[in-house]
């Protein structure tokens, strides 16, 4: 599972969220699907697949020194229907913090900004997000978000191939 390449060549894909908070489990669901695919998928060879609760210190440790980091998270966005997908390059992340649906309050936008200030961003960072509908207590994604997991998996495979 862990990439064997030298630092600077590594790629990490991080699923952020908690599968006991309904749609907040979208990131972990994508990682689970990628782990099942990894043994037979050349594009995922050597890619580190990781889970995170979004806590900033561990997020920064996961992506520091990598060539590419892809972060998958669920967001609240009342303007978009559940299941809507977003793809954000790092520069577009400022201001995302308030929309992050993490169970803890330090949002992804703040984590990215902190890493930038500390000089600990990956060479390239892409965030894939999905608009969730239900972030209450419970397991299982809502239908709209579950239906988006396959597309998120395809997007990750496409990004890590580039």
């Amino acid at each position: 599972m862990t990439g064997q390449d030298s630092p600077g060549q590594r790629t990490v894909v991080v699923g952020v969220g908690n599968e006991f908070r309904r749609d907040d489990g979208a990131g972990p669901a994508v990682i689970a699907r990628l782990r099942a695919l990894q043994p037979g998928d050349a594009s995922l060879s050597g890619v580190t697949l990781a889970l995170s609760d979004g806590e900033p210190g561990r997020m920064i440790d996961l992506w520091e020194g990598t060539r590419l980091a892809v972060v998958i998270d669920a967001v609240r966005d009342s303007r978009m229907p559940p299941g809507h997908l977003y793809q954000l390059a790092v520069d577009a992340l400022t201001g995302v913090a308030d929309g992050a649906a993490s169970s803890h309050g330090i949002g992804l936008g703040d984590t990215v900004e902190l890493a930038r200030v500390l000089g600990r961003l990956p060479a390239r960072l892409t965030v894939l997000a999905v608009a969730g509908r239900d972030f209450g207590l419970g397991t299982g994604l809502t239908a709209e978000v579950a239906a988006a997991v396959g597309e998120l998996v395809e997007q990750v495979r496409e990004i890590v191939r580039r």
Binding site: N18, F20, L51, E55, H104, G105, D110, L114, V117, L137
Partner: protein, 412 residues
């Protein structure tokens, strides 16, 4: 948070906190008796070990099993990792910016010297992370813990590499105490009864008898006889009180007050040098107590590693029996109590979890009532900021957020 002011005096302060464990209690019913450590670890990303350990102790008590001393030591080591991680996060990313006049750790990191401070906090936290990864199997929701012990015991060589990191972390932890000792602390004290686990001769972390500054002493199995939880109209969180006595406080300052004499010499010296006396009743100085507890946790981890031999076997089988068991440990935020009833087939028939945040809620409200009373001349924005600081003293789960408080002031 709602504040009602009449004729220039605070008439009422109510804090509404959302509380998740009730859902998990329902979710646990009908599950196997081996499952709670994995399930309850998901309640909190910052203190999963405490949830796992309280669950293990309760189920093992129900089944009449006591783990070996080497397994208990390995659990204590894992717990040290969680304390280091949780406290370092709170001190550096949440609490210190309050004292230094920054809105957030991000703003602190943008300043010249602040960047180095945030880096130090993250490095210290990473040492705790390293313990969690090696002993717990991974940093979040550890997977190596099972009822009866561990799936795998780390090798001595792996522990030696971990000790190298911890020796560096000890210096960072000592620097943290000296740094935090220089903060200006508001002159504010409480008279709450304080409650913590105690293990005479050792600073309580992974087990103990429940004790209070008012002279109470009882076993975890008696917890529900002494601690009454009740609904209050304004919050989904239950409020806890000591039967016949009233509100109480658990957490780092309670631990320090009840067990400070059993800190290791290096942690005790750090506490003395920082000006902490025999007890700590100023909640703003809790940052200092957390810093001392980080020193202790790093030092204790090094002691445990120094004498480490991989336990063999690393777990005991825990066959079920129809019984009820209780477990209590010291989560970073205070006493965490679990109770499980299981049937002869090993299925859970009832579960109860009492987290520290709900135990502290009445005391936090009392603090806020007095705190707000002295600050009624502030506008709502200033008052919100200062109340956030006052709440953050207790590190409730909600304080993970840097700006979490929705304050309404009814000034009549």
């Amino acid at each position: 948070m709602h504040v009602r002011v009449r004729a220039g005096a605070v008439e009422d302060v109510r804090l509404e906190i959302y509380e998740p464990p009730r859902f998990f209690e329902a979710f646990l019913r009908g599950r196997r008796h081996t499952e709670p450590p994995d399930i309850t670890a998901r309640i909190c990303g910052i203190c999963p070990v405490a949830y796992q350990m309280s669950a293990c102790l309760a189920i093992e008590a129900a089944c009449g099993i006591e783990v070996s001393a080497p397994v208990a030591d390995l659990r204590r080591l894992l717990f040290c990792g969680e304390w280091i991680e949780s406290h370092a996060l709170h001190i550096y990313l949440l609490h210190a910016p309050d004292f230094l006049g920054y809105a957030s750790a991000l703003d602190l990191a943008r300043e010249g010297r602040g960047r180095g401070l945030v880096e130090r906090g993250l490095a210290l936290k990473k040492a705790g992370n390293a313990i969690m990864e090696l002993v717990g199997g991974r940093a979040i929701h550890p997977v190596n813990v099972r009822v009866g012990g561990f799936y795998r015991a780390p090798a001595r060589t792996e522990m030696a590499a971990l000790a190298e990191k911890l020796r560096v972390a000890l210096d960072l932890a000592l620097d943290t105490v000296a740094w935090a000792a220089g903060f200006e602390f508001p002159d504010f004290h409480h008279d709450h009864e304080m409650l913590a686990l105690v293990t005479p001769g050792q600073y309580a972390i992974d087990r103990g008898t429940v004790a209070s500054t008012g002279g109470l002493t009882f076993a975890p199995a008696e917890f529900e006889d002494y601690v009454i939880e009740e609904q209050v109209p304004h919050s989904t969180a239950l409020h806890a009180r000591l039967a016949g006595r009233g509100r109480y406080l658990t957490g780092p300052t309670a631990r320090y007050t009840l067990s400070g004499q059993w800190l290791s010499p290096v942690a005790r010296q750090a506490a003395d040098a920082a000006g902490l006396g025999a007890e700590c009743r100023n909640p703003f100085r809790s940052i200092l107590v957390r810093a001392v507890e980080v020193v202790y946790a790093v030092d204790e981890a090094l002691r445990l590693i120094d004498r480490y031999e991989p336990p063999a076997p690393c777990y005991l089988e825990v066959p079920p029996r129809a019984a009820t068991g209780h477990g209590a440990t010291e989560a970073p935020r205070g006493v965490l109590f679990h109770r499980y009833a299981i049937d002869a087939d090993g299925l859970i028939t009832s579960a109860r979890i009492v987290p520290p945040t709900s135990q502290n809620q009445a005391s936090i409200e009392d603090d806020l009532r007095r705190f707000v009373a002295d600050r009624l001349d502030l506008d709502d924005r200033q008052l919100t900021w200062q109340c956030e600081q006052a709440i953050r003293n207790y590190d409730p789960c909600i304080s993970c957020s840097t700006h979490f408080l929705d304050l309404t002031v009814d000034r009549g």
